[in-house]
């Protein structure tokens, strides 16, 4: 039965078109993501693509290793040398690009130094001119002290427990950081949320007719008068929705990841996320961040698809069911921009697709005496909600009467 339910979905031309659209989205998003990684050659010409990623990887991996005081000092020295070269001092853009070409290997480390010596929410490019070789090794301590200063400045309102939580997380971060080329992961994480959003909408579209099409095609009478029409037949529908949502989600996320990392390289999976997202309170690696984002996206996709199917079973209308994922994933964030719902917006289901933003700048929540990040709460909560919705969906359809 499950096979036929899935077959019903993909026998519809509009759904086949939706799958083609998904492949187009995959191609466009992959290209845009790949183009994020740029390499400037010794002549000052920039390029993107496989060879650019390969060259950039080669340049950065010359500096691969733990970011100790010694390494940081060498990086600072290298930066000074390049800055004092005639190319860097030239007014000609091409000459400056040539200087930048030499800096690409240390650019990632320089970013870390700049963040460490800037104010909490600042990126002061010129701060490197003021850092001494002795000072540069204190980046990890400075990360904590900058946070403390910011928390005490009163710019943001946090409870003492929340402040303690953030400081504790900063202190728990394992140092020194291991550095290597990780631009493939960084580019992947920056674009994956948008890709998952589009994927979730198309999946919502695909599953929207699973329940209502019986009424639209007037096949409902035969369905419900069959022996298993009010039992296994419904389970097959619920199962088909779940299989399509899961299968498509995993397949397209895998394809996107594979394309991007195949071209840009998968190095840096075990580097700390702070190399790219300096202020993050999540003490995780790029790979862990990726898995967390993908998990959140999956729960969000299943949630939107389940709500769509629920609307489909309730209203017997496919167009209504199609709209539901749009409302859940697109209208909610829009709503949060025009209506002030302090705190509440962070718990909207669209946030499941924005885990990257939470990793970058976490929202905090206090549960009893325990402070944690919002993403770590909403992912399991919505997973449970999805599980609760399944029997509700089953019961709603089981009780249908054909008038």
């Amino acid at each position: 039965m499950l096979r036929y339910e899935i077959k019903k979905v993909f026998s519809k031309s509009k759904n086949r078109i939706a799958v083609i659209v998904l492949f187009v989205i995959l191609a466009i998003t992959s290209i845009l993501t790949i183009n994020r990684v740029e390499y400037v050659d010794e002549n000052g010409n920039s390029s993107v693509g496989i060879s650019a990623a390969r060259d950039l990887r080669e340049a950065k991996n010359q500096w691969a290793g733990y970011l100790t005081a010694d390494t940081l000092s060498k990086v600072l020295e290298e930066n000074r040398t390049i800055n004092s070269s005639k190319e860097a001092l030239s007014d000609d853009i091409t000459e400056q690009n040539k200087a930048y070409a030499k800096k690409q290997g240390i650019a990632g480390i320089m970013d870390v130094i700049i963040y460490a010596f800037s104010d909490y929410r600042d990126y002061n490019y010129y701060v490197t001119d003021q850092i001494s070789d002795d000072e540069v090794g204190t980046i990890y301590e400075r990360r904590i002290s900058t946070l403390k200063n910011w928390l005490e400045s009163g710019e943001e309102r946090f409870t003492q427990a929340e402040k303690d939580f953030m400081i504790q997380k900063y202190k728990e971060l394992k140092t020194p950081f291991y550095y290597e080329y990780m631009d493939g992961w960084a580019a992947l994480l920056q674009n994956i949320s948008t890709f998952i959003l589009m994927l979730a909408l198309v999946i919502g579209f695909l599953v929207s007719g699973i329940f209502s099409d019986e009424f639209q095609t007037k096949a409902d009478s035969i369905f419900f008068s069959a022996r298993f029409g009010r039992s296994k037949g419904i389970s097959a529908k619920v199962g088909a929705g779940f299989c399509i949502a899961t299968g498509f989600y995993l397949m397209f996320v895998f394809l996107y990841t594979f394309i991007v990392l195949f071209i840009l390289g998968a190095d840096g999976a075990n580097c700390p996320i702070q190399l790219d997202l300096w202020r993050s309170v999540y003490n995780i690696t790029f790979l862990q961040a990726y898995l967390f984002i993908v998990l959140g996206g999956y729960i969000g996709t299943i949630f939107a698809a389940t709500l769509g199917m629920l609307a489909s079973a309730f209203t017997h209308s496919t167009p209504t069911a199609v709209i539901v994922p749009f409302i859940v994933l697109c209208a909610f964030p829009f709503l949060s921009r025009i209506i002030t719902l302090p705190g509440l917006c962070s718990f909207f289901p669209d946030q499941l697709l924005e885990i990257y933003l939470d990793i970058k700048e976490a929202g905090l929540i206090t549960l009893g005496s325990k402070v944690t990040t919002i993403a770590t709460v909403i992912v399991p909560v919505y997973a449970v909600v999805c599980l609760i919705f399944q029997p509700i969906l089953y019961r709603v359809y089981q009780k249908v009467e054909i008038k």
Partner: protein
């Protein structure tokens, strides 16, 4: 197999679609005859557990069919009036899916589907998409799905609606062939559909069973007589106003009328034997003139 309807009533708001019906059915063919809106489909939907009655019960061999749930539906084959299907499925796929839904064992399902496809004459189009079939072929696929589980109770709601005369005759013969050893309930507003195959006919109007019995019993229940007479063409409208006309046949300058009346309509009128169509007109009056009931 015994189905008992006891005080069966279905109300939709203020409207009573089926009003306190008491009936008993055993194996055989039952024809449910009534004009559009008589409540036939609502009654059949309740018999198929698609609708719950407002009051009253339906029992199968003494057990309430809604309590029996899937055990009752296991015995059931149903072809609805608006036969819906999955347009992109082939005939074979469609039947395989319905077979799965009916819980037919996978080891026998392919053989059963093949047999039924052959029986309803769809072997040549078994791999064609349902949407490409003619109306008659779709209906035959409909009867095939109803027969998949070899049902003990076969419910056919207006099975010949929209079919051409050839297809209708073919369909009627098919139903007759399939009706052995089972309870068949067939609803229609086309008299000829059930005239030859029903053991018992129920006349339904405004949610109630007006009369039931064999064709002879129904004919005998008429208190009026059927007459045939030749009348001038210019007098036809006068006769139509005064009598129930069950048939008209034009001849040169004259029209042969078939009239249902207590009294002899004209001197030259001949008393003739009543048919089921006459009974239909007798009971359903002016509504028998609807274009759908013309046959």
């Amino acid at each position: 197999m015994k189905l008992e309807l006891d005080g069966l009533t279905k109300e939709f708001g203020d409207f009573t679609a089926v009003n306190h019906i008491n009936l008993t059915m055993t194996n055989g063919v039952y024809g449910l005859l009534g004009v559009n809106g008589a409540g036939k489909t609502t009654l059949m939907r309740m018999l198929c557990t698609l609708l719950k009655p407002t009051s009253g019960t339906i029992c199968c061999n003494g057990k309430d069919i809604f309590s029996m749930d899937s055990e009752y539906r296991k015995l059931l084959g149903y072809l609805p009036q608006d036969f819906g299907f999955y347009p992109e499925f082939t005939v074979e796929d469609y039947l395989l899916y319905i077979a799965a839904l009916k819980g037919i064992r996978p080891v026998v399902v392919k053989k059963r589907v093949k047999e039924l496809i052959a029986k309803v004459g769809l072997s040549k189009v078994a791999h064609k998409k349902m949407k490409k079939l003619s109306g008659g072929m779709k209906r035959r696929a409909g009867i095939a799905q109803a027969m998949l589980n070899n049902p003990k109770i076969l419910i056919l709601d207006e099975p010949t609606a929209g079919l051409d005369p050839n297809e209708r005759i073919r369909f009627r013969n098919l139903i007759s062939e399939l009706s052995e050893d089972r309870l068949v309930l067939l609803s229609t507003h086309i008299v000829s559909d059930i005239e030859y195959i029903a053991n018992e006919i129920w006349l339904m109007k405004d949610g109630e069973i007006l009369h039931k019995g064999s064709i002879d019993e129904l004919i005998n229940s008429m208190t009026e007589t059927v007459w045939e007479c030749l009348v001038p063409k210019n007098r036809v409208s006068d006769f139509m106003e005064k009598y129930k006309i069950s048939n008209m046949k034009s001849e040169i300058n004259q029209v042969m009328l078939r009239i249902i009346s207590h009294e002899k309509p004209v001197e030259n009128a001949m008393r003739v034997e009543a048919s089921l169509e006459d009974v239909f007109l007798y009971y359903f009056g002016e509504k028998a003139g609807d274009e759908n009931a013309a046959l």
